[in-house]
């Protein structure tokens, strides 16, 4: 590709102040660091996002595929004014959140992907993202959508987001919801928490390497062991058929 054409294709990022890392104790008693990653670290994240594209449960497939695309676009300079935060426990990648700055007043929340489920890991990472938009970038509001019921409960209901249905969200064009400064201030100290500065040793471990998630969501191995699509035929009839076959064969 010619350098001239790349100049046209590559968006020009505006300068965005860095997110100061923070940490918190999660319900397991472990200390989780949330920090901003650089463009160079994206490949280390992508390898852990890719396997989730085949996990249908809770729309992990959709979210992981989109996160992969957004992070790759950030890495290869095809997304403007994007940032990526990660949550890590002992270096282990627990969550990835990203978004972008639309203008001085408006932020666009993109995705929250929990690679370790439960313990409010995704919720803490989302809160950090809102903190970045409000406290660091100085946005007046952040536009948000949810792609899964869990996301809807966590963001729209828990934060009591306002409707901005007249604005199509960048994620597929659905009506947007908004986190305003007033909503954010109400959430500060309850939903938006964490301590600064991060102790040196803790931060060094997080910065040292992005380690693979220890217990990522996986596709179900057994019948009824987890969910599949609604009204997908279950194995019950198949097992009965097998039994009847065995009976006919005298086994």
């Amino acid at each position: 590709m010619s350098v001239d054409l790349e100049k046209i294709l590559r968006p020009i990022d505006h300068e965005m102040p860095p997110f100061p890392p923070k940490y918190m104790t999660i319900a397991s008693g472990e200390e989780m660091v949330i920090r901003q990653v650089t463009r160079d670290e994206i490949p280390d994240i992508l390898i852990h996002v890719a396997p989730l594209m085949s996990v249908e449960r809770d729309f992990y497939d959709v979210v992981a595929a989109r996160v992969y695309a957004e992070l790759l676009a950030y890495y290869r300079h095809r997304m403007q004014d994007e940032y990526v935060l990660v949550a890590q426990v002992d270096g282990e990648l627990c969550a990835v959140v990203n978004g972008r700055s639309v203008d001085d007043d408006t932020g666009m929340s993109l995705h929250t992907l929990a690679l370790r489920r439960g313990l409010r890991i995704g919720a803490h990472a989302f809160a950090a993202k809102m903190e970045y938009h409000m406290d660091i970038l100085g946005h007046k509001e952040v536009l948000i959508v949810a792609e899964s019921p869990i996301g809807f409960r966590r963001w729209m209901i828990e934060y009591k987001l306002e409707k901005r249905f007249e604005i199509p969200h960048e994620l597929g064009g659905p009506p947007s919801w908004a986190l305003t400064r007033g909503i954010f201030e109400k959430a500060r100290g309850t939903l938006v928490i964490g301590r600064r500065p991060v102790p040196d040793a803790l931060l060094a471990k997080a910065m040292g390497a992005i380690l693979p998630p220890s217990d990522p969501p996986t596709p179900p191995e057994d019948l009824l062991a987890a969910t599949r699509s609604k009204y997908d035929p279950t194995g019950t009839a198949l097992i009965l058929q097998r039994w009847m076959q065995q009976e006919r064969e005298g086994k």
Partner: protein, 391 residues
Amino acid sequence: MRDVYAIGIGITSFTRLEFPLSEIAAYPVMMALKDAGIRKVDHLYVANMGSARVNHQTGLASAVVDTLSLTPAGAEVIENGPASGASAIKQGFLAVASGMHDVVAVTGAERMREVNSLEATGFVATLTHPLAEYIYGVTLPSMAGMFTRAYMEKYGVTSRHLAMVAVKNQDNALLNEFAHIHQAITVEGILDSPEAMTNNPYVADPLRFFDCCPVSDGGASVILASRQVAEKTGRPLVRLAGIGQATDTHCVHEREEPTDLLAVRRAAAQSFEMAGVSPSDVGVAELHDAFTILEIVESEEVGFFKKGEGHLALERGETRIGGKIPINPSGGLKGRGHPVGATGVAQAYEIVLQLRGEAGKRQVADPGIGFTCNFGGFGNNVVCLTFAREN
């Protein structure tokens, strides 16, 4: 009466299951039939609390018996609130003990996550008194919160004790592949850290998030049979040796002493008496810890510990796997989950597994007697079961 044996057991994962309720009820029966090595039963009992309200399905037993190709066996639903499971087992027991049937299947199933958590909580609240409690907005968490506060003030139970129950049962659930909650938690993370209030917010003071069981989907089954049938299976003989059931006032505020769970006390005593054993003979128990406080209180009311001393036994580690009387090795309602109609059957599933010595990593050392307490309403309809290993 004839002796009655649990000859087969089956269970689904307790989680969110996006299957029709009839499938959730049928699948564990198939597993139980396979476990018992049989293909047919004389009768099917289906324990369920909310199919009509939550899943818009009535006549559940008719659907399940046909799903299983068990027609023309008789089939019916048993509904007794959160104690539906043990009540259904009781009906199965009576059918076999009386000689009416030789083999019956009991399955419990619930699909609560079809609705959101507020609706699920509202559905369970319908078991409260309609005019004296429900219309004032009472829910089970709120009732348990008031009960917990009264118990704390009277007996010195603290939030730390409640957190210890949560930690223990979630640890146990890590060893149970079918459990809903697979998360290790610590007292520091949910009680002591600066972030504890966010990690573990109040639900109904003094109860917090990790003091409450999850809303789960799931099913569990037990096949009950006469001794003649049981001996043919070649499996360890586990006898359903005792059943007790007792009720209490519908309204909690009408009880002389609200911190006493008399129905638990009476049902347990009946069950032990029928089995010819005492609480000290029990090697493993599954108690109905819909809220962490209930495990502590039930452990006292059934006779494992003196009244007001359950939390002290917890402190000493006596209720852990490896302790004097391991309670809820499955994870209990707190860790395994609580699909209300299935819970009593799931408790029996765990006890049969333990008595057979087939519980794997969570196996309790050589328990001869196992016990379950299935707590209906807010302690107003309780069914206790005692199981004994015979060979």
